[in-house]
């Protein structure tokens, strides 16, 4: 199946896709409702999109939304697929997909740490990367890295030696 056929196939077999868009000849993206995310991902996994390459998020601060992105890949069709969904920014939460892909546990833990997204069903919320983090998650757009750095590390401007 080439990309066109594949898009047709997905459109025909899965209801509730908001938007499907080709990025280049080997890559396309799907936008779905938050509630449909597990359905679409399990559907895609069954349709040979076996590799979960990445889970990440984008903080759209103006739209007051956080976009959760799942990047899949199929070795059969050699197609990269970006599955997107939008969730509320104030209380971000989404269903965990750790039962679909075991590796999602770690990705979700990672995204939870950096965006504060609550993955329902994934209880592993121990900090993974950051040390003693008390502020808002660092990859949120309203987090000012330079100010943070100056406040905490730049306190001792004067050379004491």
């Amino acid at each position: 199946m080439n990309q066109k056929e594949l898009i047709e196939y997905i459109k025909n077999n899965f209801k509730g896709i908001e938007n499907i868009k080709s990025i280049d000849e080997k890559q396309f993206s799907i936008t779905v409702q938050k509630e449909r995310i597990i359905n679409i991902l399990s559907f895609l996994k069954l349709s040979n999109f076996k590799e979960l390459a990445l889970i990440t998020a984008v903080d759209w601060i103006k739209e007051e939304k956080i976009e959760v992105v799942y990047i899949l890949f199929s070795y059969e069709y050699e197609q990269q697929l970006i599955v997107k969904t939008y969730i509320d920014r104030q209380e971000p939460s989404i269903e965990s997909i750790k039962n679909l892909w075991e590796i999602a546990t770690m990705y979700e833990r990672d995204v939870h740490e950096f965006f504060g997204i609550d993955f329902i069903g994934n209880d592993d919320k121990r900090p993974l990367i950051l040390h003693n983090w008390k502020d808002i998650p660092p990859l949120r757009k309203d987090f000012d890295s330079l100010k943070y750095s100056n406040t905490i590390f730049g306190k001792f401007k004067k050379d004491k030696e």
């Binding site: 502020d135 100010k147 590390f153 004491k160």
Partner: protein, 186 residues
């Protein structure tokens, strides 16, 4: 805040003689704290052959004399570095490689990377560059050896002398209890 003591701490007398042996047998800790570590294997192996100066990598902090901070230090690493440094035995020295431990370098605005290492542990020598070439590293080592011979490389004594000051600085970044940006200032 405790004041930083600037007492004169030069090695004298018999220690000077021992320093001759110390400088000729610097064992560094095998710890890659940052990206500068990628230039250490060439320095250690055949081309630059650090062993000519009696230097060699050592497995644990107990055995090592020299702690190399190879580049930037994230906060999480800083904690490990301090723990490691305290496990090392006197006399011990610290060399900071690259620009990042001096002022944060390219990561000056990163929320995770410390800007100035000398606030947390005493640095005997900094080798600038991003990243320092093996020649620069060896040059730095030779400089440190000279300092040791002259009894000037006394960072570990400074650390003992100003332990409270260092500890305060360390705690202020490692053990904060409030958010940095919106939280209450201490």
């Amino acid at each position: 805040m405790e004041l930083y003591s600037t007492k004169k701490l030069k090695d004298e007398g018999f220690e000077q003689i021992l320093n001759f042996f110390r400088k000729k047998s610097l064992w560094m800790l095998h710890y890659c704290t940052g990206c500068g570590a990628v230039e250490l294997p060439p320095t250690m192996t055949s081309r630059w052959d650090m062993e000519r100066f009696g230097m060699g990598p050592m497995a644990t902090p107990r055995q090592a004399d020299l702690l190399l901070i190879t580049g930037y230090l994230s906060l999480k690493s800083l904690k490990r570095v301090i723990y490691t440094y305290e496990q090392m035995q006197n006399p011990k020295w610290v060399i900071a490689l690259g620009s990042c431990p001096i002022n944060g370098g390219i990561y000056y605005d990163s929320y995770s990377v410390i800007n100035r290492l000398a606030l947390y542990i005493p640095v005997d020598l900094s080798i600038e560059g991003c990243m320092p070439r093996p020649e620069a590293i060896i040059e730095g080592f030779i400089k440190l050896m000279k300092q040791i011979e002259n009894g000037e490389a006394v960072g570990y004594k400074k650390y003992q002398e100003n332990y409270k000051w260092y500890k305060q600085n360390q705690d202020s970044v490692l053990k904060r209890e409030f958010p940095v940006l919106s939280g209450e200032e201490k």
